[in-house]
């Protein structure tokens, strides 16, 4: 199977969805982004990325959780799919392998 690549921003958003654990939707994802990474992005960027992630099969979504705050409109709540979590784990693993291959002094030099 052709491997689906995850962009950097996609990976971060996917992680946020995982962190939020079922409570992730447009607002919470962009707030978490801002809070945890300090990145301020437009809502459209988050919206588009979520749709793209769903098309790739890494998240699934359902409508629900209307509140008065949002004028009684439903949210689209996202959850990570099995495929999504496997992809994240693979990335994690790959990074770890790569980290171990890095000679220690290189990093220290770069760290100064």
């Amino acid at each position: 199977m052709r491997r689906t690549y995850l962009g950097e921003f996609e990976e971060v958003v996917l992680l946020m969805v995982a962190i939020l654990d079922g409570e992730g939707y447009g607002v919470t994802v962009s707030q978490a982004l801002e809070e945890h990474t300090g990145r301020i992005v437009t809502f459209g960027t988050v919206h588009n990325t979520l749709i793209r992630l769903e098309e790739k099969g890494f998240v699934r979504s359902e409508l629900g959780g209307a509140t008065a705050e949002r004028g009684g409109r439903r949210k689209r709540l996202f959850r990570v799919t099995a495929l999504g979590s496997r992809a994240m784990q693979e990335i994690q693993q790959l990074r770890q392998q790569l980290w171990q291959m890095v000679p220690p002094n290189t990093l220290q030099l770069g760290g100064i």
Binding site: F43, G44, I51, R52, R70, R74
Partner: protein, 887 residues
């Protein structure tokens, strides 16, 4: 969301931005995005204040508007669908289409049959138009050949004719020589006897200048195109060659024209096709022979006033037809005497491409001609095809309610609209292709019959790629047009509503169908009215009093003096045989006027009037032979010596000369002067119809001719059978004129031929009218059967409640009757308008009486009623138990 939503920050979030969002954001993600943005707005205003929140709101709204926003795809679009033109799908479409055709036999028959007939008609008309438009194209110089014509103003109106005086040819050659490649002087196409040893035939041909074969690009079978350059030569067509010489070599043989002029065969050319103006050019003889053997031709060489010849030209390579035509306008005017100049002669070129289709002139202006029929039939063809397509569309939409369920199920199991459209279009294409194949067969079978009616020799153009291209293009187009409505309409149904059974075609869904039926019947009724009028007009002209008795009257053309020199003996022999009651000589046949002369004068003549009369030289027995009827005076008689300078004139001549109104007295005894000659009027006859039966008789003068006449008129003895009498006459004729074949014509047959053109239109029009009605009724039959089927339950309930068969019949037939009555109301003014215009061209014409319209409308109603009744009575007679049992 039942409770009215509270919107705490609604007051402050910019309304226009929100409005923009609702208008432009994709619909399927609008709800969540709206909510998210509202929530974010509240969050921002809490953290950074109103202004910042508003700014960020606007920015973020823009970020979710097209083109930045990503669209969420619908779930069904993400499932894999086979491409709707995939071969597997196509095979499936065809299979289903065949099954549908087979399961609905009546419906398929109506569709395919109606379409096939419609296409066959359109094909026939197409072939006919092709044939008309390709007239004269046999000649390679088609674009460069023209005939010289002239306009002359006579008594205030301009008459146009191809009759030209000889000196004009010389002027064209000398003054305008650089414009022409060829200028060819020719006689009219005349009938003469061609003979070789003991074989003799009447054949038609021209005395023509020797460049003609080259100009007409004749295909030579023997000899060369230069053959006519030899003096006393003749070129003959292939069929004449085989008739005269059989298999022997014709070139170099000496043969005779009219048993007098010996000519040598110098060429044989391929027969000219029937759709050439020269189709009856059986032979050609050099112009010089015409000059040598006829004194009057020799004497006309410098005469500008003898318009008895034709000139054909071929343009020089660089010349432009229109410019040359304008340039030679005054070629005659500047060369003629003042007296002839009064006719204002204008010379112009009539190009070969217009000879056949644009041959009519009115007041010097070309008014079309045959081209009108090309248009007329073209339009009829399109209409008949349209009728057939309408049937197809009507039946398909009428069945839509039945097929709606099918559409619902297909959609429910996952077919998309493109596939449904493919399904319906392939069904209609299949029907059309089958219909096309059948129509080709129909055309092939009916072509001989159609050729007969249309007087043509058309063949199917099997080997012409253009024919196939057009045929297939036309099939595809018909299939797409007639299949498009059902395809687009049916495929748009909502599966839910069709499957729930609540699907009902709205009250106005049948409106387009009704409109189409009205269109069909409007066309049909118009055609019926047209046909009746055409036949009435022919009938009217045929019933017109013709002024002589044509039963048992025949005439023989003579070009040799044999009969004339032994006239008395010949007459005596005939009378003695008992086959004949009287014979007479005349200069022209009874059924046409050969001579129109001017230059007459009489007392009280208006000096500005151009005195043109038809002049017929006859002998003393003429009146008795043809049976003309006297209004005043008496017939020629040998017992009065002065009758040799007497004249019998017709009523039209009396009126034309103004003899009646001026002095009230009788015209008898008045004198007509022709130069030095004086004629006394001894009798006035009723007008005889010699030319067109639709026009008033021309003013005609009859005088005693003393030179060899052209025609022998023979009145058969009614006591003897015609065939026996003709045989006896033939024997005696051959005795006196052994060199000429006995080629006789019956006056009534010749007279009937004057109606050939109108009769042909009538036959074709009735043919199309019948087909139009047939196709329309076929469609109506189908519609009625579906309506009856749809209303089965209703009829059952009504019967149970006590409705009679008659009630039900009325109920079911009424709708269709109304439609036909509406079409009749539309068709009447249309038909009236066109037919009034058509009749305008005839001087003698029938009137458009109301009963014709009533009969056509009534006829259409009756036919419709019969068609519909079959279905409605069948439905009304059904046992209600059967129709109500299943639920």
């Amino acid at each position: 969301m039942n409770a009215p939503p509270t919107r705490p920050n609604r007051r402050t979030a910019p309304r226009w931005a929100h409005w923009l969002l609702t208008k432009l954001h994709p619909e399927n993600t609008l709800e969540e995005v709206e909510g998210d943005l509202d929530e974010l707005y509240a969050y921002w205003s809490k953290r950074g204040g109103q202004t910042q929140a508003t700014l960020r709101y606007v920015l973020n709204v823009v970020s979710v508007l097209p083109p930045f926003v990503r669209r969420r795809k619908r779930i069904e679009q993400r499932t894999q669908q086979p491409f709707f033109l995939h071969p597997d799908m196509l095979r499936n479409y065809l299979k289903i289409a065949f099954r549908n055709l087979r399961s609905q036999k009546v419906y398929s028959f109506i569709n395919i049959g109606g379409l096939a007939v419609g296409m066959a008609v359109a094909l026939l008309i197409g072939l006919w138009m092709y044939d008309e438009l390709s007239f004269n194209r046999y000649h390679k110089n088609y674009d460069r050949i023209a005939q010289v014509m002239q306009n002359q103003t006579i008594n205030g109106s301009v008459s146009t004719a191809p009759a030209i005086p000889i000196p004009l040819a010389n002027v064209l050659r000398s003054t305008y020589g650089s414009d022409f490649k060829q200028v060819v002087l020719s006689s009219w196409t005349e009938e003469h006897i061609l003979s070789f040893s003991d074989k003799k035939y009447w054949k038609t041909g021209n005395y023509i200048e020797p460049q003609a074969p080259d100009m007409l690009s004749l295909t030579m079978i023997k000899g060369t195109r230069a053959g006519l350059k030899e003096p006393y030569s003749i070129m003959i067509s292939e069929s004449v060659a085989s008739a005269l010489f059989g298999t022997t070599e014709p070139i170099g043989k000496l043969m005779k024209i009219d048993a007098q002029i010996a000519v040598k065969v110098t060429g044989v050319y391929e027969d000219l096709p029937y759709n050439s103006q020269f189709s009856n050019l059986d032979y050609m003889v050099p112009w010089q022979v015409n000059v040598a053997v006829r004194d009057w031709v020799k004497n006309s060489a410098q005469k500008w006033d003898n318009n008895s010849f034709q000139i054909y030209i071929q343009l020089a390579d660089h010349a432009n037809m229109r410019q040359v035509s304008a340039r030679i306008r005054d070629a005659k005017l500047v060369n003629v005497s003042e007296q002839l100049a009064r006719f204002k002669p204008e010379v112009f070129l009539q190009p070969m491409s217009r000879w056949h289709l644009y041959s009519e002139f009115e007041n010097g202006i070309n008014t079309g001609g045959q081209i009108q029929f090309v248009w007329l039939f073209g339009i009829i063809g399109v209409f008949v095809l349209l009728l057939a397509c309408i049937n197809f569309m009507n039946l398909s939409t009428a069945r839509s309610e039945k097929r709606a369920k099918e559409v619902g199920i297909r959609k429910a199991v996952g077919s998309v609209r493109a596939q449904l459209i493919g399904q319906f279009l392939s069904e209609s294409l299949l029907v059309v292709v089958i219909a096309f194949i059948i129509s080709l067969l129909l055309v092939q079978l009916s072509l001989p019959y159609f050729n007969d009616i249309a007087a043509k020799k058309m063949t199917m153009l099997w080997s012409t790629p253009v024919f196939w291209l057009l045929g297939l293009g036309f099939t595809l187009l018909t299939g797409l047009i007639s299949g498009s409505y059902p395809a687009l309409y049916l495929s748009g149904f909502q599966p839910i509503s069709t499957l729930k059974g609540t699907f009902r075609v709205g009250r106005f869904a049948s409106l387009p169908r009704k409109v189409l039926v009205v269109v069909q019947f409007t066309v049909s009724v118009t055609l019926i009215i047209g046909t009746i009028i055409v036949f009435r007009q022919i009938q009217f002209a045929q019933n017109r009093p013709i002024g002589y008795s044509r039963n048992g009257l025949l005439y023989v053309q003579t070009t040799t003096p044999d009969i004339h020199t032994h006239y008395d003996a010949f007459r005596a022999d005939l009378l003695q045989s008992g086959a004949v009651t009287e014979i007479a000589e005349s200069e022209s046949p009874l059924t046409s006027v050969w001579n129109v002369n001017g230059g007459f004068d009489w007392d009280g003549k208006d000096p500005n009037q151009q005195p043109d009369f038809a002049v017929v030289g006859v002998n003393y027995e003429f009146g008795k032979t043809v049976g003309w009827q006297f209004k005043a005076g008496r017939d020629f008689s040998r017992s009065f010596g002065t009758d040799s300078s007497g004249m019998v004139i017709n009523e039209a001549a009396v009126k034309f000369m103004g003899l009646k109104n001026r002095n009230g007295g009788s015209p008898i005894g008045k004198t007509i002067r022709d130069g030095d000659l004086r004629y006394k009027i001894i009798g006035v006859i009723k007008d005889m119809v010699m030319e067109s039966p639709y026009e008033p008789a021309r003013q005609t003068l009859f005088y005693i001719s003393n030179f060899p006449s052209n025609f022998i008129n023979i009145r058969l003895n009614p006591a003897m059978s015609a065939s026996e009498a003709v045989a006896k006459v033939g024997v005696i004729y051959q005795k006196y004129s052994p060199t000429a074949p006995f080629d006789y014509k019956f006056a009534d047959a010749e007279y009937t031929r004057k109606f050939a053109a109108e009769a042909r239109i009538g036959t074709l029009a009735s043919f199309f009218a019948v087909l139009a009605i047939f196709i329309s009724c076929l469609g109506l039959f189908g519609l009625a059967s579906f309506v009856a089927e749809q209303r089965t339950k209703e009829i059952g309930v009504r019967k149970v409640l006590g409705a009679s068969v008659f009630n039900l019949w009325g109920l079911l037939s009424k709708d269709f009757m109304v439609l036909v009555i509406i079409s009749f109301a539309i068709a009447t003014p249309i038909a009236w308008y066109f037919l009034t215009n058509w009749l305008q061209q005839y001087q003698y014409r029938t009137d458009l009486s109301w009963w014709i319209f009533a009969v056509s409308g009534g006829g259409a109603l009756v036919v419709t009623l019969l068609t519909v009744s079959f279905q409605s009575i069948k439905a009304a007679l059904m046992n209600p138990v059967k129709s109500l049992r299943s639920e």
